[in-house]
Amino acid sequence: MVDTAEGHAFVEFDRVQKSYDGETLVVKDLNLSMPKGEFLTMLGPSGSGKTTCLMMLAGFETATHGDIRLDGQGINNIPPHKRGIGMVFQNYALFPHMTVNENLAFPLEIRKMGKAEREEKVKRALEMVQMGAFGARRIAQLSGGQQQRIALARALVFDPSLVLMDEPLGALDKQLREHMQFEIKRIADDLDITVVYVTHDQTEALTMSDRVAVFDDGRIQQLAPPDQLYEEPENSFVAQFIGENNTLEGVVEEIRNDQALVRLDGGGLIDTTPVNVSKVGERTKVSIRPERVEFGRDRLGEDAHTLNAEVLEFIYMGDIFRTRLRVAGNDDFIVKTRNAVNQVRFEPGQQIEIGWLAQDCRALDA
């Protein structure tokens, strides 16, 4: 389904820049192309320019520089109401002076659709979000979650091929959010629409998306499917931002084949996979996921390097154990182990030996 080859792109950002005040660039150099039917999430810390990108796509902000194309056509000069893009706003933006039905019928009325057809479509859209019984309600009479569903239905009722959602679940509690993530994903798949979804909740991004674009500082730091993003972060920002991550700093000592030997600042040598390092002597940040740390030599190679560690804390979390270690001067080295039969439970103060497969440990930019 993911096909970013030129010519097939449905949504395309081409070297887009955006500045509000003419001085600072909020979006610095955005290149992005999306095939039809993709569910793409923009993920990033607050102020990284996600909403700005969405607004440029929707037509409420103009790009300072570069082109945005929709279905091969430049849309820089097309006003928002002619773009035919559905949009779910962070605060839902449901019209408070209209009932649910009127809200949904609004885009259809504007398209001069007949009454019977309109009612039919509104009814179907409401059923799709399981809100069939709420048509006559006023917006203020709905709960947050219900409003969210209506906002979704309204963005979809006029059959747009592209739907933008700006943190649509931000205001909901955890349980409802998880439920709605599933719903949105189901509806998007059912209708085969293209979705650009903005969030700063990484779990949300990982569970829903075909691809995730990690934003920081006005640039896409990495654009990849969730698994790749998690397992193969391309830089230390992404590694830090997505999931839990242990970082150790050091200097490249040797590069051989597809492995790099890194001498840590806190002492010790480790095997890593070089990602952003190419020269001996370069500084690097090494990233290792907590669940990929091994304790026994049996699963590591014969000549694998290991480190000595001291157990500082052992936390029983039910499904997993979480152990905090002191490794090479880093007091915050976390290891997660599955709660399985015979799994060792460490005692604080215990001295152990840890290691990992070189492919799980990535030497990134410093």
Partner: protein, 490 residues
């Protein structure tokens, strides 16, 4: 306890409102029906009329005139007869001068015969001590109510003048009152010897014909119109002011519509309402775009606009209104410009002021902030995402405005309209200065009655009606728009 403390906290404000707002309004409401002056100034005359004595004819008979003499004498001494004359003059012109003239003449009317005849029965009638002992005796007071009233009134006005009544000669009019009492006395057997003897003697007294005397003062005393007026307005409370305020009049025979050329208040009320509506409409038309700009432009521009809107607040009302006079008069800026541009010629200079147009222009300008501010505070709370959402759903700028933005701003229009309308309906200074004769409001008339004609009752009735109209409109508005939909902010 908690409540009491809360009450204590707001009590200064409560007292302030009570004293400066509720009390004046209550007083105004009261004044619009109060009419005690007739009864208080002519107590015996009114009592006789009310008891139905001697009123087969409109112009009453001798007895009433005799009571009128006593009342009038005391009123004239207390200088209250002119006040009553002024009061009744509102209803029937000419009464004021009639009362003034009669007040002077009663003083000079010779009624010594009464005194002489009483002193002939018993010389003690000429002594203060006799009178004082009667006044101190409640039985005697009951039997001789008018005489005692006259005696006490006499003492009172002497004391008010700084004299000592015990050293003065009794005034003749007191004996007239005594005579009237004794004539009316049916059974004197209970009374003391002096009164019994006097009561027996009075039927043979030589008397003064007061009716003739009064008609001699002024022949109007024999005219039905004067007596109709007095008798119509003798009760302590009257609906007469209210009737006047709606172009009716209360007459002896009943209510009637005022003659065509005296009807002014209906027109004035309608004009006030109509012009207030026009002003409110103009304020909406002018204020809406300003408020919209203020809430949709960047902060700096919005602040500048806000200052421009508020600027009128910082200059004196009089200055602003006078500025309009300079602008609009026939030799004013606008006319000069038009002439200069050859749009109108010298002879055809437009009349822009001292008429309704002038009032509407100046008042719209002055009241505009009251429309803009509530509008702005409502518009500010309408998030931009609503319009954006509408546009993303396919609405053009206009549709997004008309279907989404405008309905959400209606509460602001409502609040602004109520403010502007209620303010303008009672506005006074501006119409006074630029309104001429055709552009004045009911409030100008109220002011006239308060400060020039001094007909406070009528002014109060007009004010009360105005208040009622505003409350009624408020109620209607609440019914149609709903007061809950009115937002001044947030």
């Amino acid at each position: 306890m908690q409540k009491l403390r809360a009450l204590l906290l707001i009590s200064p404000l409560l007292a302030f409102i009570l004293i400066t707002f509720i009390a004046p309004i209550a007083d105004m409401l009261f004044r619009s029906v109060e009419n005690k002056i007739v009864e208080e100034t002519l107590p015996h005359t009114v009592a006789l009329i009310d008891s139905g004595g001697d009123i087969e004819t409109v112009v009453p008979g001798e007895k009433v005139f005799s009571a009128l003499y006593v009342d009038m004498f005391v009123a004239a001494e207390k200088k209250e007869h002119t006040r009553l004359g002024t009061r009744l003059n509102y209803e029937e012109s000419g009464i004021s001068s009639l009362f003034r003239k009669s007040g002077r003449r009663v003083d000079r009317l010779d009624v010594e015969v009464y005194r002489e005849q009483f002193e002939n029965i018993d010389p003690s009638w000429g002594e203060i001590a006799t009178w004082q002992s009667l006044a101190d005796n409640s039985d005697a007071s009951d039997m001789l109510p008018r005489a005692m009233w006259a005696y006490n009134a006499w003492r009172d006005y002497l004391i008010a003048d700084g004299d000592n009544p015990d050293e003065e000669e009794l005034e003749d009019f007191i004996y007239v009152a005594l005579y009237d009492d004794l004539i009316a006395l049916e059974d004197a057997s209970e009374a003391g010897d002096l009164i019994q003897r006097s009561a027996n003697a009075v039927p043979d007294f030589e008397t003064v014909n007061f009716k003739e005397a009064f008609i001699g003062f002024d022949k109007d005393w024999g005219a039905e119109d004067v007596w109709k007026t007095i008798r119509t307005y003798s009760p302590p409370y009257t609906e007469g002011y209210f009737l006047n305020a709606i172009d009716l009049q209360k007459e002896f025979e009943g209510y009637s519509v005022r003659p065509e050329n005296e009807r002014i208040y209906g027109v004035l009320f309608m004009r006030t309402l109509f012009m207030s509506l026009v002003i409110t409409g103009c304020a909406i038309l002018l204020g809406y775009p300003i408020a919209w700009l203020m809430s949709n432009r960047p902060m700096r521009e919005a602040n500048l606009l806000m200052i421009m809107v508020l600027l009128p607040f910082w200059t004196s009302l009089l200055v602003r209104t006078s500025a309009w006079k300079v602008m609009l008069q026939q030799q004013g800026v606008i006319n000069d410009t038009l002439v200069w541009l050859n749009i109108v010629d010298e002879a055809g200079r437009l009349v822009l002021i001292n008429n309704q147009f002038g009032t509407i222009v100046a008042m719209t300008h002055i009241l505009l902030p009251f429309m803009v501010l509530p509008l702005y505070s409502v518009m500010r709370t309408i998030p931009e995402t609503y319009t954006r959402a509408a546009k993303s759903l396919g609405a053009t700028n206009w549709t997004a405005f008309w279907r989404v933005y405008f309905p959400l701003s209606v509460p602001g229009i409502g609040a602004g309209s109520i403010l502007v309308f209620i303010l303008s309906i009672g506005y006074y200074i501006t119409p006074e200065i630029v309104g001429g004769t055709t552009g004045t409001f009911i409030s100008n008339r109220i002011a006239y009655h308060i400060s020039s004609s001094l007909n406070w009752g009528l002014a109060a009735a007009l004010g009360t009606i105005l208040l009622a109209v505003v409350l009624l409109l408020y109620w209607v508005y609440d019914r149609i728009v709903g007061i809950d939909n009115v937002k001044l902010g947030g």
